[in-house]
């Protein structure tokens, strides 16, 4: 047979199925022709009817098992795997009914195989609920056709027993005519049946046990649940019911139907964030460390009532007259002929440059607070969410922020470093720029200002928010004094802008420098912000961020420039975060890890078998160009990714022992932003133990680091030791203890394609990582 483009026609793979079909049909036909007539006459006509039905059942199930799609997954779109391919680890853990299950990355299909899914090398497809590939039906047995295969086995066993029995009866009744054709043929049929009796009955019994236990052949053979708990079992009856009675699953490989195209045309609606702003800001009072987004969301909702409580006391503490004054000033300032950029609500930072406001620090404060609330939905949304999370500077929100607020953050980012530096003169130009940009997004202040009571929480929130926010340049002194212009505008502005790129950096620093202080602050910290006497709650910060800002600013600026460059080069760096946003990992440890990692210079060779390694092993040449091309995008992603990486690494660490954890810390620290003066205390205590989907983030970091080494990414950050990861990976001390890894049994042993030999490391819960050493 000629082999054409595409799949080669391999006749050999059809031999077993042809043989099986031939034997089945042939033997049964002979039985019906030669044996049944006598049986019908001698015993009962029900015999051929019975045998006929059984044979029909056998044939039907055989056909279904052979021709039915077992549940093949279509290949993942390019968009889906864009961020996974190069930086993702080989395995991703997911928790199913309390049990950690590993999902392996399929290099062929470009997704993480869902639980119980496996890739069939014969069919070259990932199959859902993969049982095995059966050569006798020349098909994979998976979710959709397992029932038919099982019924085929059952019915075939029944049929064989029936044929053998009736043949025996025939032969026993024709012992004297053994040489006759009928008898001979019947004996031949009996021999065939007897020959295949043992294997078929054996296989049937095996599958009966599997069905009762709720396992697949694949799981049984690979010993996945040996000595462990099977999370997929529903109990014996439930399992049987599931196999036999569950609805027929749909095909995934479908021809694209022509459906009505939904047109997406701008202008687009934006969510109304005014209410959310209030809610969010109140709950994010800068004191409570919401460890993750979902938590903060919950706390947001839960704290709505709190906001009500908080609001009344605030105005008395503040100066009502001041507020009205501010509002008036704001109004005038707005209407006044300020620079064009400033007319439409500029960034909070801009207010400090307004001549009208320069004399009145209060104006600055409130203006900025109001300003922030006034911002356009999306920026506000990001801001709000960021504020919610910024309190927890260890959280991953900053991971998300850059992904979807890149441009705005980027712009604000420009000014923020300068803002950090004592908010004063040198930041003027940049803040003006950012103000201009942000100003266009702003909604008029007036509507908000009219909500007197509502605005107070904003202000109060903003102050502590920005405090806890990564505005490193803020000093507690300025914050304690609500009238301090620098404090206010910086707070607001930083709250607005610091969510961006420097946040991971600063937040880590913040964590280090002010973690205790911030956490000490009780929830009712609104008072200090509003100028109340609450300053007693906070001690003046021993560290003046102004002093540290220069180096920070430098690195931030560097980073920003890099990101800008990268952004220009690539169109979809955000896809990097498509997955990271989706895969939620507890955020508490992410930033912590960033800080902790910076300490330990030891690099971790913990590659977690990143997929590109694996793929390099298999197809080095093909992957490389892709890798190379995506390196720059990844490097930009990398700038955003430290958190993701640390998060994911953290997730992976959770599965490893402490040693490896520490080693990882060191490694990640090398890859992450390391500002010169940035020393953060290690606080790995927040490490979660069982992250659900920790993969992509860690992977993203791991891979970015790797890739940066491959192509010395333009990220020429002095403080970023990008080059080190690889070398350090290689020199990774065996901090990671391994116990025999079971992953090796799974797939191709990852050969040291690009980097070095890959070690398979198994961690807690049977998870296995492949580490390049």
């Amino acid at each position: 047979m000629p082999s054409s483009t595409g799949k080669r026609f391999k006749p050999t793979k059809y031999i077993p199925v042809s043989t099986a079909a031939a034997l089945l049909v042939g033997s049964t036909t002979l039985f019906f022709v030669f044996t049944c007539p006598w049986l019908t006459k001698a015993i009962s006509p029900a015999i051929p009817v019975y045998n006929g039905l059984v044979f029909l059942f056998v044939l039907a199930n055989f056909s279904m098992a052979t021709f039915m799609d077992p549940g093949v997954f279509p290949r993942a779109d390019e968009d889906e795997d864009k961020d996974d391919d190069f930086r993702a680890p080989l395995y991703k853990n997911v928790e199913i009914k309390g049990i950690q299950v590993r999902m392996k990355w399929c290099a062929t299909c470009h997704f993480y195989r869902p639980p119980r899914c496996s890739h069939c090398s014969v069919c070259d497809n990932c199959v859902e609920d993969f049982d095995h590939h059966c050569p006798w039906v020349n098909n994979c047995i998976g979710r959709r056709n397992y029932r038919y295969f099982f019924l085929f086995l059952l019915s075939l066993s029944t049929h064989m027993v029936g044929v053998f029995t009736f043949g025996l009866i025939f032969v026993l009744n024709h012992m004297e005519k053994l040489g006759a054709a009928h008898t001979t043929i019947t004996m031949a049929v009996m021999c065939v049946a007897g020959l295949f009796f043992i294997p078929v009955i054996g296989l049937t019994g095996f599958h009966i046990v599997l069905v009762a236990r709720g396992r697949t052949t694949n799981e049984q053979v690979t010993g996945k649940f040996r000595g462990g708990v099977n999370p997929f079992t529903r109990g014996c009856c439930g399992n049987v019911e599931h196999v036999l009675c569950s609805p027929l699953a749909p095909r995934y490989i479908v021809e694209p139907k022509k459906k009505q195209a939904v047109s997406v045309k701008p202008p687009f609606l934006r969510p109304d964030l005014s209410e959310r702003q209030i809610t969010v800001k109140i709950s994010d009072n800068g004191i409570q460390a919401n460890l993750n987004r979902s938590k903060s969301k919950i706390s947001l909702e839960g704290l709505e009532d709190k906001s009500m409580d908080v609001q009344p006391p605030l105005p008395p503490k503040g100066d009502p007259s001041k507020y009205s004054e501010l509002k008036g000033q704001l109004g005038t300032s707005e209407e006044g002929g300020l620079s064009p950029k400033l007319i439409s609500p500029p960034t909070p930072a801009m207010y400090k440059y307004r001549p009208a406001f320069s004399n009145n620090p209060k104006v600055h404060y409130h203006a900025t607070a109001d300003q922030i609330t006034m911002q356009e939905g999306h920026t506000q949304g990001a801001l709000i969410e960021e504020d919610g999370r910024s309190l927890d500077y260890q959280s991953e929100p900053s991971l998300d922020i850059p992904s979807y607020r890149k441009s705005s953050l980027h712009k604000t980012y420009q000014s923020s470093p300068l803002q950090i530096d004592s908010f004063a003169i040198n930041s003027r130009s940049l803040s003006l720029k950012s103000a201009g940009r942000r100003g266009t997004d702003k909604v008029p202040l007036h509507p908000m200002k009219s909500e007197g009571a509502a605005s107070t929480p904003y202000k109060s929130i903003f102050s502590p928010n920005s405090l806890s926010n990564r505005n490193g340049s803020l000093s507690y002194d300025s914050l304690l004094n609500p009238m301090s212009p620098s404090g206010r505008k910086c707070i607001a502005h930083s709250a607005v802008s610091s969510v961006g790129y420097h946040s991971p950096y600063l937040s880590a620093k913040m964590c280090h420098l002010r973690g205790s202080e911030l956490q000490r602050q009780p929830p009712q910290s609104f008072s200090p912000v509003l100028g109340g006497p609450a300053p007693h709650q906070r001690d003046p910060s021993p560290v003046r961020y102004d002093n540290l800002s220069k180096t920070i600013m430098a690195s931030i600026q560097e980073r920003k420039e890099m990101e800008e460059r990268e952004k220009l080069l690539h169109s979809h760096p955000d896809s990097v975060f498509a997955d990271s946003g989706v895969y939620d990992t507890p955020s508490s440890y992410s930033l912590q890890q960033v800080s902790t990692l910076s300490e330990d210079p030891r690099s971790m060779a913990m590659r977690y078998g990143s997929r590109d390694n694996l793929m390099a092993a298999t197809s080095f040449s093909t992957r490389n160009p892709i890798l190379q091309s995506s390196v720059s995008s990844l490097s930009s992603a990398m700038t955003r990714a430290p958190r993701t990486s640390t998060t994911s690494l953290q997730a992976d660490l959770a599965n490893n022992n402490v040693q490896s954890h520490q080693a990882l810390q060191g490694r990640v620290s090398n890859g992450s932003y390391k500002s010169p003066g940035h020393q953060v205390p290690s606080s790995p205590t927040g490490m979660p133990r069982s992250p659900s989907y920790g993969g992509p983030k860690a992977v993203s970091f791991v891979n970015t680091v790797e890739i940066t080494e491959v192509q010395s990414v333009g990220a020429q950050r002095d403080d970023m030791q990008l080059k080190t990861p690889h070398s350090k990976i290689n020199g990774q001390p065996k901090g990671i203890s391994r116990l025999g890894s079971t992953s090796s049994s799974q797939g191709t042993p990852v050969s040291p394609a690009r980097h070095s030999s890959v070690k398979k490391v198994s961690g807690v819960g049977g998870t296995t990582y492949e580490i390049s050493v």
Partner: protein, 165 residues
């Protein structure tokens, strides 16, 4: 869906695909088909959290109904056995019926809720029921908003469509 009309003269608004968000499966309850209701951060500024969660919860409900082992699935199985599975040629299965419902629901959600916000849901069936793909479109004004320069076109940056520039 992305209509890209480049007109330098007029202020023509076109939408272009900016990025995609993938809502992954929630495997916490085994292999039953459920999607995570966690709100992706990329959608933070594009759609209300509640709407999104409602959509995902409804979809989860549909899938649970499709996979439910109950009276109809028993009947279907018996009938199929009795007819040597020829019944599958004539009649569509329970799951397929629910899938049709889901498809209609997604279509309706897209038309009513997501498309006006510059988003588009993709039926998970097309992705093997592994993810819900949400495409985020950006408003690319030819007037060159401040965010238009960002090639990455994060949703936040390009969202100048709603606000007047």
């Amino acid at each position: 869906m992305a209509t890209e009309v480049h007109s330098l003269q007029e202020l023509r608004r076109s939408a272009s695909l900016a990025t995609k968000v993938f809502v992954q499966r929630d495997y916490s309850d085994g292999t039953t088909c459920q999607f995570q209701t966690k709100f992706p951060p990329e959608l933070e500024s594009r759609i209300e959290r509640q709407l999104f969660e409602e959509t995902v919860k409804t979809l989860n409900g549909f899938y649970a109904e499709a996979e439910k082992i109950g009276g109809s699935s028993y009947l279907e199985g018996c009938l199929a056995c009795a007819t040597a599975y020829f019944i599958f040629l004539c009649m569509e299965t329970h799951y397929e019926k629910v899938l049709k419902k889901i498809s209609k629901y997604i279509q309706e959600q897209n038309e009513k809720i997501y498309a006006p916000r510059g988003l588009l849901l993709t039926d998970p069936l097309e992705r093997g029921m592994r993810v819900i793909e949400i495409s985020i479109y950006e408003d690319r004004c030819s007037s060159g908003s401040s965010s238009s320069g960002s090639s990455s076109s994060s949703s936040g940056g390009g969202g100048g469509g709603a606000g007047g520039r």
